[in-house]
Amino acid sequence: MSVAILSARGVTKKFGGLAAVADVTFDLHEGEILGLIGPNGSGKTTLVNVVTGALPATGGEVRFADRPLTGLPWHEVGRLGVSRTFQVVKPFRNLSVVENVMVGALFGARGGARDLRTARRQAEEVLAFVALDHRADAPAEGLNVPERKRMELARALAMRPRVLMLDEVMAGLNPAEIDAAVELIKRIRDRGITLLVIEHVMKAIRNLSDRILVLFHGQTLTEGAPGDVLNDERVVAAYLGRRYAEAARA
């Protein structure tokens, strides 16, 4: 039985009177890839925002490696070893690719590297890992969509996280790029990083997830092995839709 490296209990986030996330409880087991799916507006990104400290929780608690995570300032969470990517990537436009990744190396887990040379070396390693090293000195502005996604990922990896949360990294990628991204994520897991992956690309979710958590209107709909969850009629009705079901039967 795997250790829960991160646990969320009763996490709630309200905006005004509206609960974007309502009483969500889940465990993230060390070394696993947890898929997080749900219709648009079901609270997936908000949940990640609350867990990583970008937004304060209205209620509930999150613990990471046996310390409370809720209530910590945003930058503290990154320093503890929980990193995330953003759905709409946030490159540092006026820096080069390697400089972007260096920021991750400089400020990541346990405070990061102290000097620029070490940070640069670490950044170059990460860029090689994500196969973006040939663009190391290119300005971040000049990257195309898949490259920008990989840089965003590299930045988060350079923080040497124990837990990495990916928010729709596959959006806008073609099938070949999606396959490459899936392989990359598996290699990240092989390095010992626990992953939570938000995705709408079902092929990727099926291939990656050890377990899947489904959100609907801010609440947990169901949770379990991909085979069970993706065939659950409630999930088909709420999320997968008729065309997916037809294609799956075909």
């Binding site: 648009n40 507006g41 806008g172 790029e177």
Partner: protein, 234 residues
């Protein structure tokens, strides 16, 4: 309705489109599919007057509109729902929709069309007073399409409709667009999600490296082995 003949275009020294020819007959849904970097955005930018082509022509109902300013092209009845939605985030959903009808003066018809959009996308009516930027991606996509429809265009161009949308959301959009099409709208769909594109469109063009490599009825394209391997991941 829309005809593109041997269009070549690019940005400065970089030529992206080479000799692209396609046609969108009135009343049909036509799709152009291709990967990132194939040139889909460049094609749309050229058609809508944002960049000037180096060769070829763009015709709307037989009239040459090549190289005309974007405002003029919008005035002729082409509306584009851009990639990434580009809503006005701090304005309400309702205001965003009404702004779609900016060029129109017929208040009663505008109100009627607003009701029509709400019927297609009930969630928009529910959220009409909410700031558009605070909605989720799929809801924003519906709002963007609604805004496009509010212009009552003759030709509706959709750029990357499916980006970041849950499968069920795509169902909603496909249904809505099918309904809109049955009411007579001509739709040109530029897409990376080939499965969805072929569900909606009757005719398809496949763009690779700036050239049209395949074209024909989508029913046939679906079965093409190259398409299956490269785009449907099968």
């Amino acid at each position: 309705m829309l005809e593109v003949r041997q269009l070549s275009a690019g940005y400065g020294a970089m030529q992206i489109l080479r000799d692209v020819t396609l046609s969108v007959p009135a009343g049909e849904i036509v799709t152009l599919v291709g990967s990132n970097g194939a040139g889909k955005s460049t094609l749309l930018n050229t058609v809508c007057g944002i960049i000037k082509p180096v060769g070829g022509r763009v015709l709307l109902d037989g009239t040459d509109i090549t190289g005309r300013a974007s405002e003029a092209i919008v005035a002729l009845g082409i509306t584009q729902v851009p990639e990434g939605r580009r809503l006005f985030p701090t304005m309400t959903v309702r205001d965003n929709l009404i702004l779609g009808a900016y060029r129109r003066r017929d208040a009663k018809a505008i109100a009627h069309d607003l009701a029509w959009v709400y019927e297609l996308f009930p969630i928009l009516e529910e959220r009409q007073r909410q700031a558009a930027g605070s909605m989720s991606g799929g809801e924003q996509q519906m709002c963007a399409i609604g805004r496009g429809l509010m212009a009552r265009p003759r030709l509706l161009i959709l750029d990357e409709l499916s980006l970041g949308l849950a499968p069920i959301m795509l169902d909603t959009l496909v249904d809505a667009l099918t309904k809109v099409h049955h009411e007579g709208m001509t739709i040109f769909l530029v897409e990376q999600d080939v499965a969805t594109a072929f569900d909606l469109a009757t005719t398809g063009y496949v763009l690779e490296n700036g050239r049209v490599v395949l074209s024909g009825p989508t029913s046939e394209l679906r079965a093409d082995s190259h398409v299956k391997k490269a785009y449907l991941g099968l």
